[in-house]
């Protein structure tokens, strides 16, 4: 893949608006997704992530704004667009008595280009379950089937709406591995999530959404670095020391005491730790324990919105 192609825009969302009655789901949202990247829409429930992804999938019509995918207009050329994207819905419902392989064969038959059903069954660990009715599949198996269905047409763009919600940690890791393979295959992925670690681990770039608007966009590292939150340091000292003196150490932004420990926010952390060690030596004090916590996207979200993600 040439660098030019790598950087070419595959999805372009411009000034998107959507409301349901009085509820404004998306207001003035714009972003681009580059070819070959895993792009995450991160935000709490109700942020407008699902509405956005469903507009891109062609399931919903925006009130205004435009979406172009692979150079195709999502409204005017929706059939041609659907040929080139694969999607997994937040909750995929199939008829109860439909077997796994029947579903894959059926949907593969709708497209001009299709992937091998046998390979999909193998790849998503569904070979043994291929004759099982949809109603008898577990949550994880349903999710794997949904992902396999998203790939039946060998799509350029894969859209995943909360792919790991409701799954236990092991299943979640399995899904992460599958998504990482999408990237290796050169597919572009758009995923929505409200799990911080999912976005940090999987996504090349993340758009943080809140109340239908974009609040931040960039790589996870950029976003964290850009935030003024600083690294959290939890220190345990041999002798107590005044908070006002700790605050004077280089790089410390904020500091308070809790249960005999001191919690510092520091930026940059490396400079602060060196200064802290020098300070303690001069005070004839000693560092008994040290925990370092890097700032997360959660911290970025809190900083941008003043609210916690779970809310």
């Amino acid at each position: 893949m040439s660098p030019l192609e790598e950087n070419s825009v595959l999805v372009s969302v411009q000034n998107l608006h959507k409301h349901y009655g009085d509820l404004v789901a998306v207001r003035g949202l714009s972003f681009d997704i580059l070819q070959g990247e895993v792009f995450g829409l991160l935000g709490p429930n109700g942020a407008g992530k699902t509405t956005t992804i469903e507009i891109i999938e062609g399931l919903r019509q925006p009130d205004s704004g435009s979406v172009r995918v692979c150079g195709l207009d999502s409204r005017q050329e929706s059939m041609a667009l659907k040929e080139r994207i694969g999607a997994q819905l937040q909750s995929t419902v199939l008829p109860d008595k439909m077997r796994v392989d029947e579903a894959l064969h059926l949907f593969a038959g709708f497209y001009r280009r299709s992937a091998s059903v046998h390979l999909l069954l193998e790849r998503f660990g569904l070979v043994e379950k291929r004759r099982t009715f949809f109603e008898n599949l577990s949550g994880g198996q349903r999710q794997r089937l949904a992902l396999a269905l998203a790939l039946v047409n060998d799509p350029e763009l894969v859209l995943l709406d909360e792919p790991t919600v409701g799954l236990d940690p092991q299943l979640r890791r399995d899904i992460y591995a599958l998504i990482e393979r999408f990237r290796e295959e050169g597919r572009t992925v758009l995923l929505t999530t409200h799990y911080i670690e999912e976005a940090e681990r999987l996504c090349d770039r993340v758009a943080i959404m809140d109340r239908g608007q974009l609040v931040a966009l960039g790589t996870p590292r950029e976003l964290i670095a850009r935030s003024g939150q600083g690294t959290r340091l939890e220190i345990h000292l041999a002798k107590p020391v005044g908070l006002d003196r700790l605050k004077l150490i280089e790089g410390v932004i904020d500091c308070h005491e809790a249960d005999g420990s001191y919690l510092l926010r520091a930026q940059p952390a490396a400079v602060t730790i060196a200064a802290l060690v020098r300070f303690l030596e001069s005070e004839d004090n000693a560092l008994l324990d040290l925990h370092i916590a890097r700032p997360s996207l959660e911290d970025v979200f809190v900083e941008m919105t003043g609210r916690k993600m779970e809310n």
């Binding site: 399931l59 059939m79 419902v93 008829p95 029947e102 709708f110």
Partner: protein, 482 residues
Amino acid sequence: MPTVRIALLTIRLVMRTKVALFFTFLFPLFFLFAYAGLIARGKPEAVAYMFGPVVTLNIMGSGFFGLGIQSVMQRERGSLRRYRLAPIGPRTMLLSNLLANYLLELPTIALLLLAALVIFHMPMKIGWATLLVLVTVGTFAFAGFGLTIASVANTMQEAQIYNNLVWFTLLFLSGVTFPLPMLPRWIQRVAMFFPSTYLVSAFQSIMAQAEPLLDHWMEMLVLVTSGVFGLLFAVRLFRWEKEERISTKAKLWSGVFVLPFLVMGFWMNTRANPTAMWARSYHVMEQAPAAGPNAEAEKVNLIENFDGTQPSEELLHRWQISTDSDVSGHSMGEISLLTPGAEGTPHAMRLQGHLAPGPNNTQGYVSARCEVQVPANSRGLGGVEFEARGEPRVYQVGFQPPYVAQSGSSSSAALTSANAPALPFPAISFVPGEAWQNVRLPVAWLANPASHGLADSPWVLEISVTGPPGEFTLDLDQIRFY
């Protein structure tokens, strides 16, 4: 073809669902047994009459519940959304549902037909092609109903309400459960607005009376129109998502769906008036002979009812007219086929003409004769009876050996031939009235046929008129041994 793929898979899914299988195959059979057993009492001709309502009920059920409610269920469950991600449109989804519904309907009808033919010995007066056309048109029409209701209803509850309203109205007021001729006149008039009426009555006329399908082209047209309207609405108002609602305005628009039925209803009420046709089919059912040995006996005892399936002229070919012209008189007589016959049967025979004064002041006469085979076992029979009506004149009916009849005599006489035992040839006189009335001619020897040895040869039933000059008209029907 995505349409065919989805349809075939849908059929497979139905085959895996016990409840769906029950309603698709067993439930219709249950109705056949109920109708054929309870209403038609197992009489083959009556079963043929009730077959139409059973098939119509089944077709309606598949349209309303198989297609309509299922469409709403698919939408409410959210399984349509997955299809929406694929490059297929509402048309594909609708046509595949329509196709699956039709393909599931055919074996059901075949099963019903098989049961009716094998278990109830139903006479098959309908051609395969005609049956297929009726079933296809009917299924399409009621698919239109189901799809319209599914399109208009925003929720499952709403769909159930609409469904029940339409379903029960059609069920009780269009001959599907109660034969229309049993119901008051005003209900028959209301029934003319319902498409199910036309499917039932087309079935009944064709199945019970072997009428050609083309006689029912207008009904077929209305049914097809209903299907087309339904499909158009469904495409226009199709929704993939449970949350999508349609406006009250769009609901009102769908009232257009009833237009063809209104036109048909008015036309039928003012112009065509199909009640006589309904009554004729119903009469065939009521008069149907019982199945089994009794039915055979009924058939053997029947001499002529002019209601057979051959072309109308042929129904009269057994009859011969003779008049006094053989002896240089000038009386005239002719026979023709009358529609309808006694008590609403399809046909009767009319003997009409005029009597002229004969030569030498004798009275003119006209007679109609028909050869009759005496049943092989005539024990227990009392004579010959028939229904008659006409102008109040004196007519005679006689039952004679062929050679007596050929002699031209129309009066009762004693056989004087040397090689036959002396027997009275029964004859009676009767005067018909304006209304149909039963006339009985006792034939004593029938009870003991061996006594004269002539039962094997055909005998002749002769009906004759003589008397003052002038016109005469006599209608005859339902001639049988009793």
